[in-house]
């Protein structure tokens, strides 16, 4: 990198001509591009390469090149080696997608009012509440997710409390369900929704709210016509930060779903560990990335189209 930087610090001509300026701009871009290539493009190329190789017997990959991993995603091989359409993996992707959408919706539903509530407090209360939002980051996600197991399991805190209060007589099974996974996902990603929304709504001038009330808008109308549109950039940022990682999450489905309700993340993780099918894991990761990219492009297009209004 030092070699790449060297031309940039050579003395520039007194009045740089247009081509000289362009050359310097390119040179100055080199470090940033190098970082992106080294830490993003290269690992992804490796993963893409792995997805077209054959699985080794004890993990790892070997030649020859094949698209088997992608074929396996959609088809199962019958006894006579013919391909039959198989929805197992599509089902896993669909469940992941539904769970990620629900997680995002719940995070918006809880995060927007919460962020607005915090932004309306006095300075000291605001700082304390923001600190409370960030405290979970101080502990490992694995530990925090396992705490939910302790709360939700049959002999856990929740069932204990329910039985002690006489509301139920036998333990209710909360764990190992889609709802438990959803709860874990919302819990894990809520701060990623609250913080970007807070950053936006905190800047809303309180006089705009007063102006809304002054112009015959009740509380609901003020929220709908002033707070909501002004908070939208924060909601969009929060949606990205929640939806994408929720789609690839594997801790919550593993611990709270008991490994029975697979999500894409757990599927990929399994291929690299117990299943020892690296090409298939890499292919699943590639497919996930392709879906996310398509989603992002569609979102960006729609926002781009909506902007000049």
């Amino acid at each position: 990198m030092s070699a790449a930087l060297a031309p940039a610090i050579t003395p520039a001509p007194a009045a740089p001509t247009a081509p000289g300026l362009a050359a310097r701009t390119v040179t100055l871009l080199v470090p940033a591009v190098a970082v992106i290539v080294l830490f993003m493009v290269v690992p992804m190329l490796i993963a893409a390469g792995y997805s077209f190789l054959t699985a080794g017997a004890y993990g790892g990959v070997r030649l020859p090149l094949t698209a088997d991993a992608y074929v396996r995603f959609l088809f199962d091989r019958d006894l006579d080696d013919s391909l039959i359409f198989d929805t197992t993996y599509i089902g896993i992707f669909a469940r992941s997608f539904v769970l990620a959408v629900l997680t995002t919706l719940f995070c918006v539903a809880i995060g927007l009012p919460l962020a607005w509530f915090i932004a309306c407090r006095e300075r000291r209360a605001r700082d304390a509440l923001l600190l409370a939002i960030t405290i979970p980051f101080w502990t490992n996600l694995l530990v925090r997710t396992y705490c939910w197991v302790l709360i939700l399991r049959d002999q856990g805190l929740l069932n204990g409390a329910l039985q002690a209060s006489g509301l139920t007589s036998a333990p209710i099974t909360f764990l190992y369900s889609n709802e438990a996974i959803l709860l874990g996902l919302v819990y894990s990603f809520l701060p990623f929704m609250v913080l970007p929304i807070y950053a936006v709504v905190e800047k809303i001038d309180p006089r705009l709210i007063e102006a809304g009330h002054d112009l015959y808008a009740g509380r609901l109308a003020v929220f709908r016509h002033i707070v909501w549109p002004l908070a939208r950039p924060g909601i969009a940022a929060g949606t990205l930060l929640v939806f994408v990682p929720a789609l690839g999450a594997f801790l919550a489905p593993d611990l709270l779903g008991g490994g029975k309700k697979l999500m894409i993340g757990s599927l990929i993780q399994l291929q690299f560990t117990s299943s020892r099918n690296w090409p298939f894991g890499a292919a699943a990761a590639m497919i996930l990335m392709a879906l996310v990219l398509v989603g992002l492009v569609v979102m960006a297009r729609r926002r781009g189209a909506g902007a000049p209004r």
Partner: protein
């Protein structure tokens, strides 16, 4: 519920002055609780005043005198600790801000940044549930009234300060409020634009016939625009009257000093039964030492072109200023003179409450 006038009423402009007051503020006090056990603040102290329909009424006073608090009480953003506020004879205190037929022009305009000029102006009408066609006509009329034609589709960030100011007026006037509250609307503009907008505000008030209540600390602005002024200080109204009346016959020492310039002399020194007398510098005269009046020494002479200012120190203590059309030849700092005034120029004023 308060009757809301139709949009036509806002543009009639020739409504006769009603005898009954439009707004009656009766014995209103407002106390703000202190922060963290600190002392509480009495922003308004037993204020009573009446605002007539169709007048340009101004609350004038230094910062912290309670004028903005009074405005916010009328708008509904704050609730008084004691007293009542009536609009058209109806107690409006139980009504939240969005149910009061009162609109506000905010100091910083508070335009909605995500809405265009036209959408900003339409906001109040849409919340009132007016039909779309009526909203469209009314918005067009308002934008024409404030002379912003052609800028309907701009966002507030794409407008100059003066243009934003006009949008704020149009937005607040569009629902044809019974009362338009203006919270130091011109303070963010530069001097030249402010003078221009003063004339503009008078025109808007004349053409719409809406009652304006202006809050300002700028006495020149108040004198130039108002039909009546309430001079406030420390949560109390010291004097209420027409601009000329307040200028010519200030009720208290503070009013005399705040509105224009005044020489304040203890009444006892000039043989007046009042605690103080106020003499305007332009009515103060300078005579040779020994004449009838107060003995003084000139401390400074300032030539202003049309006038000349003479600052004097009175022999018994205190300062006095004379503003003369014709400079006195040869009068320089250090000269002994006599400060005088015509008998009718000395206005008796009371001590401030």
């Amino acid at each position: 519920m308060v009757e809301r006038s139709g949009p036509e009423a806002g543009l009639s402009g020739s409504t006769p002055v009603a005898a009954a007051p439009l707004v009656a503020v009766d014995a209103v006090s407002k106390v703000f609780a202190g922060h963290g056990g600190g002392a509480e603040t009495r922003a308004l102290d037993d204020v009573s005043l009446e605002i007539r329909a169709n007048e340009f009424f101004t609350l004038l006073g230094p910062s912290g005198c309670g004028k903005t608090t009074l405005l916010r009480l009328v708008a509904g953003f704050e609730h008084p600790t004691a007293g009542t506020i009536r609009l058209d004879g109806t107690d409006i205190l139980p009504l939240p801000p969005h149910r009061r037929p009162v609109n506000t022009v905010f100091q910083s305009y508070a335009l909605f940044p995500h809405l265009t000029v036209a959408e900003n102006v339409a906001f109040g009408l849409e919340r009132l549930g007016r039909p779309a066609a009526e909203v469209k006509d009314r918005v067009a009329a308002m934008i024409a009234l404030v002379r912003l034609g052609g800028l309907e589709r701009r966002k507030p960030a794409q407008l100059s300060g003066g243009q934003q100011q006009r949008v704020a007026f149009a937005r607040a006037l569009a629902p044809a409020p019974r009362l338009l509250l203006l919270d130091e609307p011109l303070s963010a503009l530069d001097l030249k634009l402010r003078r221009e907008m003063q004339g503009e505000l008078k025109r808007l008030q004349r053409e719409t016939g809406v009652t304006f209540v202006l809050v300002t600390h700028d006495q020149e602005e108040a004198l130039a625009m108002s039909d009546r002024i309430a001079v406030m200080r420390a949560g109390k109204v010291l004097q209420l009257g027409a601009p000329a009346e307040i200028y010519d016959r200030p009720a208290t020492r503070f009013v005399a000093d705040f509105i224009g310039e005044a020489n304040i002399v203890a009444g006892a020194r000039v043989g007046s039964p009042a605690p103080f007398v106020a003499i305007r510098p332009e009515r103060t005269t300078i005579a040779p030492a020994g004449a009838a009046g107060l003995a003084a020494t000139v401390t400074a002479v300032t030539f202003l072109g049309s006038d000349t200012l003479y600052d004097m120190e009175l022999a018994g203590g205190g300062a006095m200023r004379a503003r003369l059309r014709e400079p006195v030849p040869g009068l320089a700092p250090g000269a002994s003179v006599t400060a005088g005034w015509p008998a009718d120029a000395a206005r008796p004023v009371a001590e401030d409450p």
